[in-house]
Each structure stands twice: as C-alpha cells, then as structure tokens.
C-alpha cells in the first residue's frame, strides 16, 4: 500500500438506534492528508457512520485514531483528540451570532483568546460572507452560508480530521461546487484530512483521494476515484452516466 500514516481506521464498526442495527461491520481507513469519500444512497447509513465515529451514538467494533482506540471515548474527548464533525443540514446554533458560533467551535481549545481571535480572522478571510454577517444570527443565513459557517466552526477546534456529513444537502449545484472547492483547498493548503459522506457523487469524486461505496450498512467496494469511475456498474449506479 502507501507509506502514509494511518490517521483513522475502523474495524468491524457496528452501530444503530435501539433495536435497529444500521451499520453492519464497517472497515474504513483514512490516511493523513487524504480526502476519503464514502458514497451511499439515502438510508445507506452515512449519517450513522459519522455519528458512530463522533461517539454520539453507541457503537461496537473498534475505532483507532492515531493508533489509539477511541471506542470508549465520549464525544467531547473525541473532539479534543482532533476529530470534529460538521453535522448534516443546518447544524449551526441558529440563535447565536455568526461570531459566537465560531467562538463555540473553539470551545475545547486552551491556547488563549488571542489565538482563537486569530483563527476567527483567518476563517473570515477564507469565507468573506461570514465576516459580512458576523453579528447576524446564524439562523438568518442562507443554506450555503450556514454550511460554510458549520465548516468554519468545525475548523475552529483545529481538527486533524474533519468529518463532513453530506455537505451538498439542500444546496444549489453552484454553491455545492464552491463548497467542495474550499474543502479541496483546505486539504491541499492546510494538509487537512477529511472523511466525507455524500450521495452527490459527481462533485465529491473530483476531490477524493479514495472512495468507499456504502450500501445498507455494508462497504461494497473501495478504491481510487479513477478506479471506481472506470467500473461500469458503479458508474451507472452512482454517477448516473
């Protein structure tokens, strides 16, 4: 394989809600500096996978992050360890201002107000729309702006791994394209590792280092974006051409 160091790997990860099991033993890996995309249709278990890694739902199997098991860690400990999730849809704090949303993103940091303020300024320069609306309530932003805010808020914790739960959901194609460009840039320029789940395959494939296909809670195929696009049946099912 590659000489890259493994950041995250899951072994037989199983999770669900009460009596319903959604994920049936997922093995995935994210190496440092990669954008890994998990493609799946509605109900495949994409959001459940994100929640299982973030620790917001009970899970079995093993999850290792930087060589250490985080299976028993609570969500806040996982955030502190460096994995932060951008929740699906409007995961912002609607009643809080844009600036306070970003501050809340830095909740786990202990490096002082100055460093946090510097980071806020940095993400404002990446997302200028957020600066224009810094005193507005997050709930009054457009869908695309809220998604940008959710990503910026997640980055405020200075994560090593960013989990993105269907960032394209409910967004116009043009906005989605812009969003994926930003994620791609963050990956190239900041070396940010990303695990992204999507059903919008076309755009996600462009920035992906590697791709997994998730079907009803099971990984059915994996490989580089090029390998998967070359496979006829996969192309028809997921890319629609």
């Amino acid at each position: 394989m590659t000489s890259q160091t493994t950041l995250l790997n899951t072994r037989f990860l199983t999770a669900g809600y009460g009596p319903v099991t959604v994920l049936h033993g997922i093995d995935i890996e994210v190496n440092e500096g990669e954008i890994v995309v998990v493609l799946g249709a509605n109900g495949a278990g994409k959001t459940t996978l994100m929640r299982a890694i973030s620790g917001t739902i009970p899970r079995t199997g093993n999850i290792e992050f930087e060589g250490r098991s985080i299976k028993k860690d609570s969500t806040d400990a996982i955030v502190r360890a460096g994995i932060v999730q951008v929740p699906q849809g409007r995961g912002t704090f609607p009643e809080l201002s844009v600036a306070d949303n970003l501050l809340a993103g830095a909740y786990v940091r202990r490096d002082g107000a100055k460093a946090v303020a510097d980071d806020i300024a940095k993400w404002y320069s990446v997302f200028p729309r957020l600066q224009e609306r810094s005193t507005q309530r997050a709930g009054s932003l457009s869908g695309g702006e809220q998604q940008m805010l959710a990503i910026a808020r997640a980055l405020m914790s200075r994560p090593k791994l960013l989990l993105c739960d269907e960032p394209s959901m409910g967004l116009a194609p043009l906005i989605t394209r812009e969003l994926f460009n930003v994620i791609g840039q963050l990956n190239k320029e900041e070396g940010l590792s990303v695990l992204l789940v999507e059903q919008n395959a076309n755009l996600a494939m462009h920035i992906a280092s590697r791709v997994y296909l998730l079907e009803t809670g099971v990984i059915v195929a994996s490989g580089s974006a090029a390998e998967l696009s070359a496979d006829d049946s996969i192309r028809k099912a997921y890319l629609g051409f």
Partner: protein, 308 residues
C-alpha cells in the same frame, strides 16, 4: 405623586420576586425545553433551610449564600438523578415528574418544619421574624418627593438589577454562558464542538434553583415569615412573567416579572373600586392575554424562524 411613587416601588419590589423565580424557569426552559413546575417549591425548600440557618445563629448575609448553595445542589441533583434519565424515555414525562417533585418537596418541608408560619415562638423559634436582607424596621425608609419608600423595597429592586447584569455578563461573556447558549440553541451540535452538555444542563438546573432560593428568601423577608404556601402564588405569577417576557429570554423574564408586579399594584391602587386587592391578579392576566395575542412568543421571546 407620593402615591404613584409608593405604588411604583411596591410594584417593582413585588415584581422582583416574580422576576427571580421566572429567571429560574427561563434558564431551565432554554437549556432543556422543560417547564420546571417545581421551581417555586425548590425555592421554598431552600428558604426553609435559610430559616433553619437563622435559628442556628448564622447571620442572614451568610445564610442566604449557604441557602443558594443548597439550592444549587438540589437543582443539580434533580437534573442528574431524575430529569436526565426520564427525559431520555419521554420528554413529556419530565413535566409530570416536576409536578410530582412539587408535591414531594412540599411534603418534605411539612414533615421537617411543620405546617405553621415560621418563625413562630409557639414552636420555640429564636428569630422573631424571617430575616430580611435589607434594613426592615418601621423607621427604615427614605422620603422621596414626599413619599415614604422602604429601604427594603429599594434594596430588593437593586438586588434584582445587579443580578440581572451579572447573569447577562455570565451568558454573554463567559465560557459557561457560551456553552449554555449553544446547548439551548442546538444540543447535538453543542456535543459536536466538544461541550459536555450533561454538565451544562446540570449547571443550568443548579443556577436556576440557586436564583430561586434567593427569590424565596427575598419574598419571605418581605412577608416576614415562611410557610408551606409561600411560593404557590409566586410561582403562578412567575410563570406568567416568563410567558409575558418570552420563555427563552432571561431579560424578558425580568421585565415580565417587574411588569406584572407593577400592573397589579397600579391597577389595585388607581382603580380600587373596579379592581381592588382581590382582583389585581386578573388585571395582570388580562394584560398578558393582550400581549400574547399580538406577540405569541412574548415580548422578548424568539419566534423560531429559520430560512430553509
């Protein structure tokens, strides 16, 4: 002018008590979406405790802080031991459980301190009346524009003013405040930025009960005694105050509480024939009804509008 000032100060000081209990209701509602029916009775328990501290010779200034600490503990334990496990099963059940807690606490108070007004020389109280946080002898008043204003009333109003400013600072300028606002706005996202939401909720219930304890002590000071029925009507007015101000707005709770105190006293004072002491409650509720018809989420409440 004298009468107006008199009624103004009386109304505001009475309203201050409603404001304190309403603040507790709002803090819990914001954090968890639960209406804590036991807010008044939690305050009453702490007030009885403060009476007991007084019996042991502890000065009121220290006793009230200890009483607020007891209140904080009671609120925090209630959240962790009762509310949290039940709300996982059914959010609606929490409301019923707080009604049960209302009765349980009142029963516990009765079992420990009995059904009579305290202090009471009949049961051997050493204190003559419930200690007031501010000077409260018949001679303790100031004359402003010819009106004799009790120092206690001014003290109570000032206390609520200071507390409101302090709470505003906590909510808007501290880590805990940011966490509380984040949890109130979106619990799941709060977890995802690394906030220990359980601790925040525990602190919210504790804070609400501690403020309630202060409200109870202030009201017992005004009434000069504590008894099992002390907080019952106060809780109803405070719920009304929270509704008027907007259930998710601490500032609204204070404005709502003060308004209800004012409306009652003004109405009873200026229209004694029509309103009088008995009907003054009704007037306050008519005003609230009027406000809610035009602003269903209260004066300062956020109507949850979101762009989709």
């Amino acid at each position: 002018m004298e009468l107006f000032l008199q009624r103004l100060v009386d109304g505001l000081s009475e309203g201050s008590v409603y404001a304190l209990i309403a603040l507790g209701i709002v803090i819990i509602y914001r954090g968890t979406g639960h209406l804590n029916f036991a807010q008044g009775e939690m305050a009453l328990f702490s007030t009885f405790v403060v009476y007991q501290f007084g019996e042991w010779g502890i000065p009121i200034g220290i006793a009230v802080i200890m009483g607020m600490a007891v209140g904080f503990t009671l609120g925090a334990v209630t959240e962790v031991a009762i509310v949290r496990p039940i709300s996982k099963k059914s959010p609606f059940a929490v409301f019923i459980v707080t009604i049960g807690l209302f009765q349980l606490l009142n029963w516990v108070d009765g079992a420990i301190w009995g059904g009579q007004q305290l202090p009471n020389t009949g049961v051997g109280s050493k204190q003559v009346r419930f200690p007031s946080l501010f000077p409260n002898n018949p001679t303790d008043f100031v004359t402003i524009f010819g009106a004799n204003i009790k120092i206690q009333s001014l003290g109570v109003i000032a206390l609520v003013g200071v507390l409101t400013v302090a709470l505003f600072a906590i909510f808007n300028h501290t880590r805990l405040g940011l966490a509380m606002r984040a949890v109130a706005a979106n619990g799941e996202s709060a977890k995802l930025v690394g906030i220990r939401t359980g601790r925040v909720l525990m602190a919210s219930w504790g804070l609400a009960a501690a403020i309630g304890a202060l409200g109870g002590v202030v009201f017992a000071g005004i009434s000069t005694n504590v008894n099992l029925g002390l907080m019952f009507t106060v809780f109803i007015y405070a719920s009304a105050a929270a509704t008027l101000g907007g259930f998710d707005s601490p500032g609204g709770a204070v404005v709502g509480g003060l308004s209800i105190g004012l409306i009652q006293n003004m109405a009873a004072g200026y229209a004694p024939k029509w309103v009088g002491q008995e009907m003054k409650v009704g007037v306050a509720f008519l005003v609230i009804l009027g406000v809610l018809l035009f602003r269903p989420s209260g004066l300062f409440g956020t109507s949850r509008v979101e762009r989709v």
